[in-house]
């Protein structure tokens, strides 16, 4: 019965079609995920992939991937990446150019900022249903914390804590703000 099961399994899926994007922000970029929900054979492989596009100076993160390592290969453009370990040290803070690859270990915190040309990458993940946890934005861990936890953890006034929680309305990919504009000027 193998020919009825694994032999007929779908093994191909296209993740370049931006009209099928899972994350889309016209000011920032888009992302297509390929996980075992979309391509069931990935459950056997315990792997998944992500195709990402960030527009000029747009930001993704900071975030961490809860259950997978990330192997990120830049296919076009460039981006600045910062990767932080559990000791709070930046283990990578550099530009990744086209054809360069970086491994982001599980749980290490990451932020990506596209360069002037924008950036496209393919990311392979070592879990068939990789999940990220963002630190800024609408569904972030910081936003999920009570204001009082923030005020006591960071020793800041309540107003500042509320700013931290609510100033960024976007979810995963952030449009470049005033700082980028100042930086370019």
């Amino acid at each position: 019965g193998f020919e009825e099961t694994i032999c007929s399994m779908k093994v191909r899926a296209n993740i370049d079609d931006y009209t099928q994007a899972d994350v889309y922000n016209p000011q920032a970029g888009h992302c297509n995920h390929l996980n075992s929900f979309k391509l069931p054979i990935l459950r056997l492989l315990q792997l998944s992939a992500e195709r990402g596009v960030l527009y000029r100076n747009a930001i993704m993160g900071p975030y961490w991937t809860m259950n997978a390592h990330n192997i990120i290969y830049v296919t076009k453009g460039n981006m600045r990446m910062q990767i932080v370990n559990d000791e709070g040290q930046a283990v990578f803070d550099d530009q990744i150019q086209e054809r360069q690859l970086v491994v982001v270990p599980q749980n290490f915190a990451v932020v990506k900022q596209a360069g002037e040309q924008g950036c496209r990458w393919i990311s392979f993940r070592t879990n068939d249903n990789a999940m990220i946890n963002t630190l800024a934005g609408q569904t972030s861990a910081i936003r999920a914390l009570p204001v009082d936890v923030l005020t006591n953890a960071y020793q800041i006034p309540r107003e500042e804590a509320q700013k931290l929680k609510y100033s960024r309305e976007e979810t995963v990919m952030f449009s470049p703000g005033s700082f980028s504009s100042r930086g370019r000027a």
Binding site: I59, G61, P62, W64, T65, M66, N67, A68, H69, R80, Q82, I83, V84, N85, D86, E87, G88, Q89, A90, V91, D93, P105, Q106, N107, A109, V111, Q113, T126, N127, M131, I132, N133, T134, L135, A136, T139, A141, I142, R143, A144, L145, P146, V147, D148, V149, N152, A153, Y154, Q155, I156, E160, K163, L164, S167, R168, F174, P176, G177, F179, G183
Partner: protein, 261 residues
């Protein structure tokens, strides 16, 4: 696991070998190099959190199961994609408290008390607060060899706030390890900096869409309180507290079941 980790000739009962003090409590570490822990692929730590003590938000590369040996408290766990279902609206609060403006919304909070076992998935950010009158004592198991951990077998805690590295440096001056060196698990747990310290302040300011000064506060560089901090006026969160719930259930019981749908 390496070949000989479970070739055990003798098992001894062990006690914590190391303690890291904080402003409002301490954490004790069992020797992770002990063969029995290596064989089982687990690590064990013990938190003792004073009343009004807050274990700062962090996440760990291994799943956690902890037992509440003493005291009571609550914990918040942030899971990606979960909505902030605990919320207080401005109007309601104003009605009750005479016009003070306060509003908050966050993910679910779990209360626990002595005898409870609480599970935390690998990589889920969490914090713990002692809202009782006694010290809160937690026996924490970290399953480092769990399939969910794809890093090495040491548990690694990623702090979202505070400056535990600074705390550790101060500790080093005050006390020596029993073996003269720091234990591996201990250094990984409490020797961590807040992860925001690894990011450029300008990038943080842009990501959070806040000014540079606010972004700087995330790094907690001057914080000397350690990983368990004292909340002077008590932590106020949106929570259906146990006592209120029990009171409500009591009232319901008193009315009888005539009002049931």
């Amino acid at each position: 696991q390496q070949k000989n980790e479970c070739q055990i000739q003798r098992i001894d009962a062990v006690e914590p070998r190391q303690r890291v003090e904080s402003e409002a409590g301490f954490t004790e570490f069992f020797d992770t190099n002990d063969q029995q822990f290596q064989c089982a692929g687990v690590e064990v730590i013990r938190h003792q959190i004073e009343p009004q003590g807050l274990l700062l938000p962090s996440y760990v590369n291994a799943p956690i199961l902890f037992y509440v040996e003493q005291g009571k408290g609550f914990q918040g766990m942030t899971l990606p994609g979960c909505p902030e279902t605990y919320e207080v609206s401005q109007q309601q609060f104003q009605g009750r408290k005479g016009g003070q403006s306060f509003q908050d919304r966050h993910q679910k909070i779990q209360e626990f008390r002595q005898g409870d076992v609480v599970a935390i998935p690998a990589g889920a950010a969490h914090w713990i607060y002692n809202n009782g009158q006694d010290d809160l004592v937690l026996i924490v198991l970290l399953d480092s060899t769990n399939f969910a951990n794809q890093l090495d077998q040491n548990h690694r805690r990623f702090f979202l706030a505070g400056n535990p590295q600074q705390e550790q440096k101060q500790q080093q001056g005050r006390q020596q390890s029993p073996r003269g060196t720091r234990q591996q698990g201990q250094s990984l747990e409490a020797g961590s900096n807040n992860i925001f310290q690894g990011f450029d302040v300008d990038v943080l300011a842009e990501a959070f869409n806040v000014d540079r000064e606010t972004a700087e506060m995330l790094r907690c560089e001057d914080d000397r309180r350690g990983h368990i901090v004292r909340v002077e006026r008590g932590l106020k969160v949106v929570s259906p507290s146990m006592s209120r719930e029990e009171q409500w259930q009591g009232q319901q019981g008193g009315r009888g079941r005539g009002q049931d749908n």
